[in-house]
Chain length 150, copies 2
DNA sequence: ACAGTACATTAGAACGATTATAAACTGTTG
DNA sequence: CAACAGTTTATAATCGTTCTAATGTACTGT
C-alpha cells in the first residue's frame, strides 16, 4: 500500500516518534540514510505542519543536521511520491509540504502565507460538475483566502 | 466604481470590441497608451481567457505589437488592480490572468496547466468554517484538479 | 502650439524558488 | 571486504517574475 488511511487503526507510529522515522522509510522502500532519517524525524515528530523546503533546511541546520538544500528537495519529493507527504502549491511559486495526508482543505493567511488546516467535513462541497472531456478527476482543493484584520 | 457586476445591464463594451479598449481604460483611470490599448484589445476581444504574461507577450509579438515583457507584467498587474482582470495563481509559480472577473471556480488540467471555468453555482460550497482569529475572509477558491485520461 | 511635468515604457540586471549536473560518498548485497 | 546501485552534494542552470534607472510619451496649463 502506498499510504495509510485515516480510518485505519493506529499501528503505533504516531506514538513512538523516535523509532518511527525508520519504520516509515522501510514501509515505503526508501533507504534509511542519515539525512532521510533526520528529515523524517523533523517532519513527523510533533503535530501536523505545512513547511517549505527552505524552512525544513533551516530546521535541520538548527538541529545540527548536516544536509544540503538539494537533498531536502529530493527527500521532500520522494516523501511526497511515496505518500508520506502532500504537496500544496499556493501563493507565488511556493510549495508547502503537508504532513497531514488526509483529505482536507486550507485557510491561506495572506500576506505572510501561513496555511491552516480545515477538516474535510467542515466544508460542504456537493454537486461537482463533470470534468472536461478526456480528463478524470484527481483532487478537489478548497482554499479559503483570508487576510489579517486586527 | 472599481468594476462592473454580472447583473448590471450590458453597457455596450462587450458588443463593440474595437472601441472597447479605450473605454475600459478610461473607466478605470489608466492612460490609454499604445501598449495598453493593444494589450486590452488582445485580452478582451473574443471570449474569456486564462493567459500568462509570457503568452500575452507572445500574442502581442504575433500581432506585431511592440511591447516589452516588463510592460506586459506592469499592465496585467494594473488591470488586475483596477478590477479588469483576476489573477489566478496555480501550479508551480505560474500566474494566469483571467478575463472572467465574475465569481467562479476552475478545473485545472494537469500536467499542461490549462484552466477551465466552472460557473459558481455548479459547485455547492456551503457551510464555511469561521476564519482563524484575527483574520477576515477574502475569497474562496475551488480548484478541481483533473488529469488527461484518454 | 509649447513647455513642463507626471506618468509609462524599456532593456537589462537581479531575484527567489526550484531543478539539473556530475563528481564524491554510502548503504546493501554477495 | 568488494562491488554496485543508490544517495548526497556543491554548484550551475533555469524559470517566472520583479527591480532599476534611463528614455519616451500623454496630459495640463498657458
Ligand atoms: Mn488514500
Ligand atoms: Mn463586484
Ligand atoms: Zn494541511
Ligand atoms: Zn476563470
Amino acid at each position: 500500500m502506498a499510504h495509510r488511511h485515516d480510518s485505519e487503526p493506529n499501528t503505533g507510529t504516531a506514538q513512538r516518534p523516535f523509532a518511527d522515522a525508520l519504520a516509515r522509510l522501510k514501509e515505503v522502500g526508501l533507504r534509511p540514510t542519515r539525512q532521510r532519517l533526520a528529515l523524517a524525524k523533523l517532519l513527523f515528530d510533533g503535530g501536523d505542519q505545512h513547511i517549505t523546503a527552505e524552512q525544513l533546511h533551516g530546521m535541520a541546520r538548527n538541529a545540527s543536521v548536516k544536509v544540503s538544500l538539494a537533498t531536502v528537495y529530493n527527500t521532500l519529493h520522494q516523501f511526497r511520491d511515496s505518500g508520506l507527504l502532500r504537496e500544496v502549491v499556493i501563493g507565488q511559486g511556493r510549495s508547502y509540504f503537508d504532513t497531514n495526508i488526509h483529505d482536507h482543505h486550507h485557510f491561506f493567511v495572506e500576506p505572510m502565507g501561513q496555511l491552516v488546516d480545515i477538516p474535510v467535513d467542515s466544508v460542504e462541497v456537493g454537486q461537482l460538475p463533470t470534468p472536461p472531456d478526456g480528463t478524470v478527476l484527481d483532487r478537489v482543493d478548497v482554499i479559503i483566502r483570508v487576510t489579517r484584520s486586527a
